[in-house]
Amino acid sequence: MSEPIAAGFSPGATDDVDEARSLSQDAWRSLRKSTMFWVSVGLIGVFVLMAIWPSLFTQTDPTFGDINNVRAKPNADAWFGTDTQGYDIFARTIYGARASIIVGLAASLTTLLLGGVIGVLAGFYGGWLDALFSRVTDIFYAIPLILGGILFMASFPNGANSNYFVVVGKVVLVLTVFGWTTIARLMRSSVLQVKPNEYVLAARALGASPWRIIKSHILPNALAPAIVVATINLGVFIVVEATLSFLGIGLTPPAISWGVAISDALVAVRTYPHILLFPSLFLSLAVLAFILLGDAVRDAFDPKSR
């Protein structure tokens, strides 16, 4: 913790050579020391590995339902027990990571790209382009994410045999279409903050191309807050995906996902709470990991907020 008053005393440090660090180096230095950062990175690493290579974690076939052994309590064979159809909950929870992680990562990436491009262009060029992009942003911002998601998924429902990746792709698409506006607004205001700085004006006066100015002067300063929001949004997207599954318009059985598992389990919550516990726990841990990561990165870039 470096309080502002005390911080006033250190400019005279004898080792003042390394005082001239850039913001990102500084941020990385403080990130490296943050436990929250390493815990969240560790958790996310495990979940990503789970999504790519589930058989690393379990040998059990998640699609094999043993109808003679339904709703078993956790035991040595089935660590998390079995669900209403005799599926092994541990295996299904491991395999269920894939949908949430893909949806979260892909939607965050696409919103960052789409929102980032629109925000930077609007902020950088201003004028009619800004007016147009800002109105379009307002339009999409006016439709709440869940509401847009429900309408879209209900309008383009999944067939009984829809391909897994098609359904996941649709969820990613709808999250992108209704989720990019926060990033665009944030990027636009960051660009507007950076643009009047003298080093940007100097680069313009020297005849640097717009792309070069954006790449070397605007983005390095405007990107950090957008990445933080995108990371925290990742958790939100995972929750929305699960919510759509709960409403029966996201992923549906036979697809395996935490959202599907949770909504199945909710029916039996009174009698067999363990069926609900494990997929919920994993989903919450994943959401938590991304929120913590976003918090840690934000704190590193903005020492004030600590």
Binding site: E3, A6, F9, P11, G12
Partner: protein
């Protein structure tokens, strides 16, 4: 200009001590306990202040001037600040051992402070008159409209034009100089005996600086306040201050009457500060700057704290810390004070 404004102040329970001192800082130490280590911000500072007297505390940023002021006001964040020893006596009573409620009641009516940056020091979301009037509401139990009337009176006293119309304006609607006047109005609202001005003109234009200094001098004269003027700018205090204390790395390194300090500095650091003031009669000459930086307060070097930057540094300076000793009517913390004094 000299309207009497004493009417609202009830007689204070505090009277200057037997030797006529209002404020006495006695061997004060302040440390900041941070993750990087313990920063020793104040190391054995002592000085006193009498009624009607102006004491200038001079030094670079980080020398401990503002921390001293905040320690006197009792507004240090503790933690990280720790006061391991020392006393701050106001009219003979130690503020550091006083119950917090009693001390709070002294802030404003007895001791008051003006900060450097009036824009950030005033609350952006309340009208200035409301903020000045708050002094009367908190300490005198006045109602809102009477407090506003008092605020208008004070704004007129610090020469804010159209005070009546502007009493409900917000800080951002004033110029820098006017904002500082509002800070001053707030600080003198309850007729304090001691006023601390912490870099009151640093954020202002040169012409406005002079006006603010003149206003402070006038108010001090009118009310016979003890004024502590904290600044890094030796230029602004020459005409106003009676005495000066020069701080370096949390210590007082020199104390003198203001004329002596300027005419015959007895510490190399004081001399360095004087040489770095631009002067009209020396146009064209190179301005001398003190090379190097003040020490890191978490790792204060042994010996004289100023020795790494001192032109006169000898072996003894690296080994033994000099005491603050009297010389020719002044005080100096230097092994070679005599040599410095004699130029």
């Amino acid at each position: 200009m000299t309207t009497t404004t004493k009417s609202v102040a009830p007689a204070s329970a505090y009277k200057p001590d037997s030797e006529g001192r209002l404020l006495e800082v006695d061997d004060l130490y302040v440390e900041f306990h941070t993750a990087e280590g313990i920063a020793k911000a104040i190391n054995g500072v002592s000085f006193d202040l009498r009624q009607g007297e102006t004491l200038a505390i001079l030094g670079e940023s980080g020398s401990g001037k503002s921390v001293t002021a905040q320690a006197i006001m009792g507004i240090l964040d503790m933690p990280p600040a720790v006061i391991p020893s020392g006393a701050i006596r106001y009219c003979g009573e130690d503020l550091l051992t006083m119950p917090e409620e009693q001390r709070r009641k002294a802030r404003g009516p007895e001791i008051s402070i003006i900060f450097q940056d009036a824009l950030s020091s005033l609350n952006p979301t309340f009208p200035v008159g409301w903020q000045i009037g708050e002094m009367f509401r908190q300490h005198r139990g006045m109602n809102r409209s009477d407090a506003y009337a008092q605020a208008v009176r004070l704004m007129e006293r610090v020469a804010i034009p159209a005070a009546k119309e502007r009493v409900k304006s917000y800080p951002h609607q004033f110029s820098g100089g006017m904002r500082q006047r509002i800070m001053i109005a707030m600080a003198i609202a309850l007729d304090p005996a001691v006023l601390i001005a912490d870099e009151p003109t640093t954020a202002l234009d040169v012409t406005v600086q002079a006006q603010i200094m003149a206003l402070l001098a006038e108010l001090q004269d009118e009310r016979q306040m003890g004024l502590i003027l904290i600044t890094h700018d030796l230029g602004v205090v020459a005409d106003v201050a009676d005495r000066a204390a020069v701080m370096y790395a949390g210590r007082i390194v020199a104390k003198a009457d203001i004329e002596d300090l300027y005419a015959r500095p007895a510490h190399p650091y004081t001399r360095g500060l004087l040489e770095s003031i631009p002067r009209l009669d020396q146009k064209g000459q190179t301005l001398a700057a003190i090379g190097g930086l003040p020490p890191n307060l978490t790792r204060i070097p042994p010996g004289c704290t100023f020795n790494p930057r001192c032109r006169m540094s000898q072996d003894i300076c690296r080994e033994q810390e000099p005491d603050l000793l009297p010389i020719a009517g002044q005080m100096s913390r230097c092994h070679f004070a005599e040599e410095v004094l004699n130029g």
